[in-house]
């Protein structure tokens, strides 16, 4: 419950502070969010499967975000659009996690 309040609190802080991100950095933030979203869904899945562990979740969350940002950066250096790669990979994983959640919640 506190965790969800934390999510809400973070969103409210962002609305209140209204941080400005340059167009270049905006892509990094967006990719980090996609990666973090995947980690969060993985966390919810683990929670429902009773294998949730705080430390693993936090580490997975940070690692996902950092790897995503690093990939975008490397892509920029090489002149290759790795953003697409990140979106595809994490997109697929998000769908897999959602499918696993659905099976767990609704059965079948």
């Amino acid at each position: 419950m506190f965790a969800l309040l934390g999510l809400l609190f973070g969103a409210l802080v962002a609305i209140a502070v209204h941080p400005t991100v340059s167009q270049e950095l905006g892509r990094y933030v967006a990719m980090a969010v996609v990666a973090a979203l995947d980690a969060s869904l993985g966390g919810v899945r683990a929670y429902l499967e009773h294998t949730f562990n705080d430390r693993i979740f936090v580490v997975a969350f940070a690692a996902n975000a950092i790897v995503a940002i690093a990939l975008v950066w490397i892509g920029d250096q090489l002149g290759v659009d790795l953003v697409t790669a990140i979106v595809v990979v994490f997109g697929v994983r998000i769908f897999q996690n959602v499918a696993a959640l659905r099976r767990r919640v609704f059965g079948g």
Binding site: F2, G10, V13, Q23, A30
Partner: protein, 238 residues
Amino acid sequence: MPRKTSPALVLVLALLGFGIVTAAQSATETRKAEQPRKERLIALIQQRRSQIGDLDKAVGELRGQLGDEQRRVSRANRSVADNTRQQQTLAAQAGTSAVKGAGVRVKVSDADTIPDDATEAEAYRISDLDLQLLVNALWGAGAEAIAVNGNRVVATTSIRQAGETIVVNFRPLSPPYRLDAIGADSTRFANSDIARRMRHWHTLFGLGFSTQRVDKLIAPAFAGRVGIDVASPKDEGP
């Protein structure tokens, strides 16, 4: 499953919420920032077009002044007078002076409804080739001077297509297209191949096509540089 929520978890999720909102806000701002750029481009294009129009007008005025000065000088000197007369004849033939007179006005336009299919849509639009053939048919019908939407057709004029836009003398045209041909014979034009084909396409595809005799037509002077080094007037045929 009661479990103590760790502060790290709360912090991480707060970070996630912060990140989501920040990314969404920056994406919206980027989109908003791109909007005025498009409007600026449109304004720039319109500004440059009106600049071209002003410069064209200035060229016309200066050419007119030059002609006046030459006439003034020629009154004093006989050999200059001969030169000036020859120059005026050449200017009329080259298209660098405006021509007035009776002739034929041909109007063509795209069909009102154009199908979505790209290959089919071609038949419903006026292409650069159609205009080229129409201009040639008007020359064939005895035209002395032709202007397409006010752009004088001279020896170096190109009628080309850039995407869906037809460009004459490197100036983009917007449909409908109006071809003013001074000195052209409407019956001879009506009997030309392209006129016959256009009438057929008019009934088949709904392309706009109309021909009318007009007593007072004006073909404006060609405003560009005539890039011909050597040219001599063609002898009048029998």
